[in-house]
Point group: C2
Chain length 292, copies 2
DNA sequence: TACCGTTGCGTTATCGTTAACTTTATGCCA
DNA sequence: TGGCATAAAGTTAACGATAACGCAACGGTA
């Protein structure tokens, strides 16, 4: 086999055999390691069970999501892992009708198709807001990229708004845009926010990458962090600990999500019952929200 | 079809049909968007031609590379895109024997199998070194994660060493480790480097993420950047412009690599001749190497 | 009307492997 | 040594599409 460079034809094998060794993975983005490290952990765990990942990237486009899910299912995968629990109705329908184990990652709650491994994003948003409130912030804003189909970001914003109402503070101010989350966007939105709402003393960013731009803008505007304004991010990007000031954030354990998803896939292939696994996020307190 | 949620079986279609619509993509890492944004651009370009990406991640493990390439080929892909031009001999042999169009990405030079789209990493390393030399640095170090199988990093280091020799300066000092490139590693290596070689006044980092840790360590050690030590990274991570001081770096146009790879794949599927495409990197001068 | 080229439609071999099935060989015991 | 259970080996029918093929219908021309 080796000498002739023979490579078996898995299309034939898959067509004939009873089980497939493809796992379809549907993500909404690959930028900024948002899901890349989940994918990394998932893939290396699946490798041990000889499962091959087939990747689809919807780029937050719901039409693409339908197309790509159909495309993934056409490979008769052993299982499908997909980001989020909020999908276009047709996606849910296709996945349900396929009879294939479906693992929804990153988010939980509501209408889980089969099995879910993720965080409670409403709780995350509430935790971010409460952290800033504990630090003495009185006037909070939620800032960042917010895609129409990023239900997670919307849940975090909702959670934050609820926590603020519960604390009896002024309403949460929104500074969002449906564009991709890059530092320049954070920079721009921070300037715009402070010119309209000069009293803001706490900013919840929708991602660390956005927060980087916010920190840059605040420095440029002569605002001290955290003395004048506290900033908290989401995602714990590797660079966050190296910012000046270092960025407080919320750390989702992406590696664990990937590993647990792999476990769930194997369990469901083995016909074990479906479950929902809620993972906690760690609040990482650094200098951008340090008590003063 | 829609009503019954019918999804055609592509295993059957692939087995029967003359052409496959899979493109195998082999990367060495997914962390830190090193290749994630190439993948992102590649995938969205291929989507327009109804080509599906099948992903494999070797994690810089040459044995895995052989296994994964074999696995990818077993799907009878329409083309294979793979990071790098330096592979284990068996990989080259398998790819050659497969008769499938092969696009090597990210690096160029030497023993191209078929078509390559990438940068001259030796030139990149030389450009980094020359930039620091122009800024007045006399004693340079190359610092970062260096995997045994990361031929690109080795080429950049070689290029830097050659430029230094050409300038008649002291030999390049190496501070490398075969571990994954994270800020903590950069932090650690910078401290170790400066305790052994206190005269170092210019550090070439193997990645921006490593450089973040270096900047953090230097700040902690009371070294001024760029007054005492200049630092340059590689990769132009999104956070780099938000560092204090902002990080000078080299920007490979990942999006363009992805797009050009997609173009090359389509061209080769159409039986157009193979080519090698050299892309230039932009030197991004920021405060960490600003003239003083 | 006969002829021929074109089109449309229905049938069937084929892709390369797996798994079920049949046949043959082997080993053990009475 | 025969009989039977078991193991090994060999054979064949799927798997679900595609594409080649054959045949009938059709239309234009001589």
């Amino acid at each position: 086999m080796d000498e002739l460079n023979y490579v078996p034809n898995r299309l034939a094998g898959g067509l004939s055999g009873t089980r497939s060794d493809i796992v379809g993975v549907v993500v909404t983005s690959l930028y900024h390691s948002e899901f890349a490290s989940i994918l990394d952990a998932l893939q290396s765990a699946l490798l041990k069970s000889n499962l091959q990942v087939m990747l689809a990237n919807t780029r937050y486009d719901p039409d693409q999501e339908v197309t790509l899910v159909r495309s993934i299912l056409s490979w008769r995968p052993a299982a499908v892992a997909i980001i989020g629990v909020d999908h276009p109705p047709k996606v849910t329908e296709l996945l349900r009708a396929s009879g294939v184990p479906i693992i929804e990652m990153w988010d939980i709650g509501g209408d889980v198709i089969d099995t879910a491994v993720g965080m409670d994003h409403t709780a995350v948003g509430a935790a971010q807001a409460r952290h800033l409130i504990e630090r003495g912030c009185k006037s909070l804003a939620f800032l960042g990229s917010m895609r129409d189909n990023d239900a997670r970001a919307q849940k975090r914003a909702t959670g934050a708004a609820q926590a603020i109402t519960a604390a009896g503070l002024n309403d949460l101010v929104f500074a969002t845009r449906p564009e991709a989350g890059k530092p320049d966007l954070g920079d721009h939105l921070a300037r715009e926010l402070l010119s309209k709402h000069p009293g803001i003393d706490g900013i919840i960013c929708n991602s660390d990458v956005i927060a980087f731009g916010v920190l840059r803008a605040l420095k440029d505007l002569g605002k001290r962090v955290p003395e004048d304004i506290s900033v908290i991010g989401f995602g714990d990007s590797e660079a966050s600990s190296c910012m000046t000031p270092s960025l407080s954030t919320v750390r989702p354990d992406r590696q664990r999500i990937g590993e647990k998803t792999a476990e769930a896939i194997l369990a469901r292939i083995d016909d074990e019952p479906s479950t929902t696994m809620t993972l906690d996020c760690e609040l990482v307190t650094r200098d951008s929200t340090r008590s003063i």
